[in-house]
Amino acid sequence: MNTIREKLWPLPKLKASLLGWGYVAPALLIMGALVLWPLASTIWDSFYSVNPMKVGKPFVGLDNYINLLSDPNVRQAWSNTFLYVLFTVVIETVLGVSAALLLNKVKFGRSWLLAALILPWCLPPVVNAIVWGWIFNPSYGVLNNALLSMGVISENKVWFNERLSALFMISVVHAWRMMPLTAIIILAALQSIPKELYEAAKLDGAGAIKMFRKITLPLIASGLAIALSQSTVFAFNMFDEAWIMNGTGYDTRSVMIQVYMSAFQNLKFSYGMALSIMAMLASLIISAVYVLRVYRETRFD
């Protein structure tokens, strides 16, 4: 009986399949030509030594990658970047979840509040950097001024004098821009929780904190996983904020700044590219961990 099926159905199936390919063809063409091919080319180059100041393009195998492991600057950059990831992910998550909880509560003027919330994320990053550079300015910045006039500090504070505070400040700026994304993702997750669950929990005897811990948190876990992976990828690609606020300073140099310096300042092109590929892989792997561990296990529909 299988034969009837084979005889009658190949055509429409093939047709549907072809149409499917036709629909995705433009997307694949553009992605292939403008992203995947260049990526492949960069990966290829990272096994060579491409340095315009030297003649030729010798094959060096994994040397670039091996050298990266022993480069103290690179190690510092990695450690800074991991701190950025830690800080921004924590800040974005804590603030994002709080903002989402708040928005979920607010009924009056919610759409305006939402507009205000996502505003920072909509601004061009260049403008973002200008605004914050001006706010953090150690001499005339509004932050120092405000803290001074409130009596929190007694003299102008130099925000970038200590490594952790510098990393933290830069993370705050980055988080300022990216937090709305987390908030929106969490808000979506919150809104998909049936309100009866909270009512049932109330009748079961739960207070606000218990409800958050026992109901809300587990049920937004899959949203959190997505938010976390987003935050992570963006934190790994941290460049603008750190570069504009603190230049090449060791304390705040991110992996992407190191990539830029190696490739575009020191002209050690393949060395820089090898590093950028490692950064990409690292962010993909960490995201995959969230998504596979948290997201997969916490979908309940």
């Binding site: 399949s17 509040l113 909509c122 061009p124 001024n145 997750a189 690609n237 995201s287």
Partner: protein
Amino acid sequence: MYSPTLKIFAGRAGLCLAVLVLLLWSIGPVYWSLVTSLTPPNDLVSAELHLWPQTLTFEHYNKLFGATSQSQGNEVQSVWPQFSRAFFNSIVTSVGATLLTVVIAAFGAYAFVRFSFPGRDILFFIVVATMAIPAYTVMIPLYRLMISVSLIDTMTGVILIYVSAFLPLALWLMRSIYQAIPISLEEAAYLDGAGKTHTLIKIILPIAAPGLIAAAILTFLNAWGQFMVPLVFSPTLATKPLTVLIPEFVTRNYIDYGLMNAAGIIAVVPPILLVIFLNRFLVSGLMAGAGK
């Protein structure tokens, strides 16, 4: 026993406070930028903190829009021709990229949801994973490619690059939107005699419109804010956008904070307008996308 009114009141007050903090956090910096752009240069560096400029000035805006402007203390050519051209370029490249991205994503995502063809899921995964690729990683080969097809400093080139950068997000979003549309609508259309493409255009796209608008806003905002790509691929005013022009106001021995903030304020007007007027699409679209 508890007093419900007192509790409600305390809850309300807490809520209001939280809302205020959120507003301060989100809008404060932008507001400060606005204040800066309205403050005379010499007041900018005064140590006192004013929530509103002591003396209001439009000189920074005059510099942007005026017939002449100052640089290094000298009367030089107005920055308006540059500024207006860059503004125009920003609009054209962003709108172009937005339209193209949305069209490609509308069809592509539909295929990823409703058609089965070999390699569908892995392709989708790869496309989405490209969001993690740092710009620097692909910049040089991409530049080589664009040179070889003579697309440097052309709107087409910039638009294509934007599309490649923002397509994954749009595809992801549109896929979740389509997944939420009941398949019976398409089936009803087939039975009514519509082909697949016709169904997509006549039935599904109008229904997915809020999602398309969200994808469009996202793409537009992303394109509008781009810096690295146009820096390399838009060398001249033929295609150079605002984001690349604004930092040029940093001169060698003079940072024109006022001018930069003024230009920045102008540059955020389109995004702010979008957020204010199309916010509900953006949020609903993002939320639909986030649900998956």
